[in-house]
C-alpha cells in the first residue's frame, strides 16, 4: 500500500522510457563501445548492463521511501507510530525487488534478442535466480541510500552517484582484471559483482552448481547490506528524534 502511495507518479509514461527503454540503450551503448574498442563480446555487455541497471529501481525507489514521505510530510507520522520497524522497512522493499527483477530480466531478454546473443535455454532458470539475488543485494544498498536520505537532502544526486559507482566497480563493463588492485578489492564487497560474474558464466552454458559459490557470496553481501541499511535507518531515526531534525533536511 505504501509503495502505491509513494509511487503514484510512476505512470506508464515514466516507467517505459526510464525502466524499459533506457536499459536497452545502455546495453547498446556499451556493446558498441566494446565493439569499437575491440575489447569484449556483446554477451559481456548485455549481461553486465542488464543486471547493473537493476540498480536504478533499487536505489531510486528505496530512497523514495524516505524522500517521498518527507516530501508528503508523512515521515513524522510514520516514525512516531509504534509499528515494528523491520516489517515496515523490509515490507516496502519487496515491490522494489520485484521491480528490479523485472527491469533486469527485460533488459537481458531485449539485449540478447537485439544483439543476437545466444543464451542456452537450460541456463534461463538459473539466470532468473541470479537476477533475483542481484536485485535483493542492490535493494540492501538502496536501504542504506534510503537511510542517508534522513540526513541528505539531495537523494537523487546521491542515487545517481551510487549508480555510476556501480557502473565502474562491478565489472559490468570493465573486465575486473583491468581494474587497479584497490578497485578490485572494493568490487569484491559490493552488490552485483558476483552476480554479474555468475550470470556471465551461466550465459556461457555453466551449470548453477558451478556458480553456487558466487551466488552464495552475493547472498552474504545482500544480508550484510540489508542489515547495515536497517541499522543505519534506526540510527538516523534515533538521531532525528533526539535532535528534532527528522523533517529538516
Amino acid at each position: 500500500m505504501s509503495y502505491r502511495a509513494l509511487f503514484y507518479w510512476l505512470t506508464f509514461w515514466i516507467f517505459v522510457p526510464g525502466l524499459v527503454v533506457a536499459p536497452v540503450f545502455q546495453i547498446l551503448l556499451f556493446a558498441y563501445i566494446g565493439r569499437s574498442a575491440e575489447l569484449e563480446s556483446d554477451e559481456f555487455y548485455v549481461v553486465g548492463n542488464a543486471i547493473q541497471y537493476a540498480a536504478i529501481p533499487a536505489l531510486f525507489a528505496m530512497s523514495q521511501l524516505v524522500a517521498g514521505e518527507k516530501f508528503q510530510n508523512t515521515l513524522g507520522a510514520i516514525l512516531v507510530s509504534p509499528a515494528p520497524r523491520l516489517p515496515l522497512f523490509f515490507g516496502r522493499a519487496v515491490p522494489v525487488v520485484a521491480n528490479s527483477v523485472f527491469v533486469a530480466a527485460f533488459a537481458l531478454t531485449a539485449g540478447t534478442l537485439i544483439l543476437g546473443v545466444d543464451v542456452p535455454a537450460s541456463s534461463i532458470p538459473a539466470l532468473a535466480l541470479v537476477i533475483v539475488v542481484a536485485a535483493v543485494s542492490c535493494t540492501g544498498l538502496g536501504l542504506i541510500n534510503a537511510a542517508l536520505g534522513l540526513r541528505i537532502r539531495e537523494n537523487a544526486v546521491l542515487s545517481n552517484a551510487i549508480f555510476g559507482f556501480l557502473l565502474i566497480f562491478t565489472g559490468a563493463n570493465i573486465p575486473l582484471s583491468q581494474l587497479p588492485d584497490w578497485m578490485r578489492a572494493v568490487s569484491e564487497v559490493i552488490p552485483f559483482t558476483h552476480s554479474i560474474q555468475a550470470a556471465r558464466e551461466l550465459a556461457d552454458g555453466a551449470s548453477l552448481g558451478s556458480v553456487i559459490d558466487l551466488v552464495g557470496t552475493e547472498l552474504l553481501i545482500s544480508a550484510a547490506y540489508l542489515s547495515a541499511g536497517y541499522l543505519l535507518l534506526r540510527f538516523f531515526e534515533g538521531q532525528g528524534r533526539r535532535h528534532a531534525t527528522l523533517e529538516r533536511s
Binding site: 505512470t11 522510457p17 551503448l29 558498441y32 574498442a37 552517484a161 555510476g164 559507482f165 557502473l167
Partner: protein
C-alpha cells in the same frame, strides 16, 4: 538589440541559478564522469587503434549532451511547477525568447562537464590533450553549446504536452551518446541509423570538436552543427506558437 539583451540577461540568470542547483548543476557535472571513467578503462584496456584521446573528447561531449537532455525536456514543465509559466507567457516579449536562454543555460553547464572530463583524463588517466587549433576548438565548443541548447529548446516545446517530460528528456541521453558518434564511429552503426545521426547537431558538434583538437578542418562540421541548431529553433518557435495558442483557447496553460 533588445532581443539580444533579453537573451543574454535570461541566459546569465538561468545559468547562475542552474549552477547552484545540486541536481541540474553539480549532479549533471559529476554523473557523466562515471561514464567517462568506464570509457577510459575500456579504451585503455583495448588494443584498438582508437586512442584514449578519442575517448577523452567523446566522453567530454557526452557530458555536454547529458547536461542538456535530462533537464531541457522539462524546461517548460519546470516553469509550470514553479507557477511562473502564465506570467512568462503573458510578458510582452515572445515566450520563445524566454525559453531559449533557459535551455542555452542548461547546455552551457556542459562546459563544466567538458572541463571536468578532460581534467579527469589528464590527471587520473594521464591523457595528454594537445589541441591543434585552440581557437577553432573554442569556437567548436561554443557552437556545440548553442546547437545543444537549440535542440533542448525543441525538446522543451515538443514535450510540453507530456506530464512526464523529464522522463522523455532522460530517454534521449543514451541514444544520442550512441548515434552521435561520441565514442562509437558511425561506420559501426547499422546503415539505417546514419541518416538519423546526420540530422542531429550533436553529431556535427562532436565531429567539429574532434577535428579542431586533432588538427583536421572543423569549419564544415561547425557550420552544419550551427545550421541544424537554427533549424531546431525555427521548428521550436513554430511549434510553440501552436502549443500556446491551443493552450490559450482551452485555458489549459497551467494544466497537465
Amino acid at each position: 538589440m533588445k532581443t539580444l539583451r533579453l537573451l543574454a540577461v535570461g541566459w546569465y540568470y538561468q545559468f547562475k541559478m542552474i549552477s547552484r542547483s545540486p541536481f541540474e548543476g553539480i549532479g549533471q557535472v559529476i554523473y557523466p564522469l562515471f561514464f567517462a571513467t568506464v570509457a577510459f578503462f575500456i579504451f585503455r584496456a583495448s588494443e584498438s587503434p582508437r586512442t584514449l584521446l578519442y575517448a577523452a573528447l567523446g566522453s567530454a561531449v557526452m557530458g555536454m549532451w547529458s547536461a542538456t537532455s535530462t533537464t531541457a525536456g522539462n524546461a517548460m514543465q519546470r516553469e509550470r511547477w514553479h507557477g511562473t509559466l502564465e506570467s512568462l507567457v503573458a510578458t510582452p516579449p515572445h515566450f520563445g525568447l524566454v525559453l531559449l536562454p533557459i535551455t542555452l543555460a542548461m547546455s552551457t553547464i556542459g562546459i563544466y562537464c567538458l572541463v571536468a572530463t578532460l581534467a579527469l583524463g589528464r590527471f587520473v588517466f594521464g591523457i595528454d590533450l594537445t589541441v591543434e587549433h585552440p581557437l577553432l576548438f573554442a569556437l567548436a565548443i561554443v557552437g556545440a553549446v548553442v546547437s545543444f541548447g537549440s535542440l533542448g529548446f525543441l525538446f522543451a516545446v515538443s514535450f510540453v504536452r507530456f506530464r512526464a517530460a523529464w522522463a522523455l528528456g532522460n530517454l534521449f541521453e543514451y541514444p544520442v551518446w550512441l548515434i552521435g558518434g561520441f565514442l562509437v564511429p558511425l561506420v559501426l552503426l547499422p546503415e539505417w541509423v546514419r541518416p538519423i545521426s546526420w540530422a542531429l547537431a550533436p553529431t556535427w558538434g562532436m565531429s567539429a570538436i574532434r577535428e579542431a583538437a586533432l588538427g583536421g578542418s572543423p569549419l564544415p562540421d561547425l557550420l552544419l552543427c550551427l545550421g541544424l541548431g537554427a533549424i531546431y529553433v525555427a521548428l521550436g518557435l513554430a511549434m510553440l506558437e501552436r502549443v500556446l495558442s491551443a493552450a490559450r483557447k482551452r485555458g489549459a496553460l497551467a494544466l497537465s
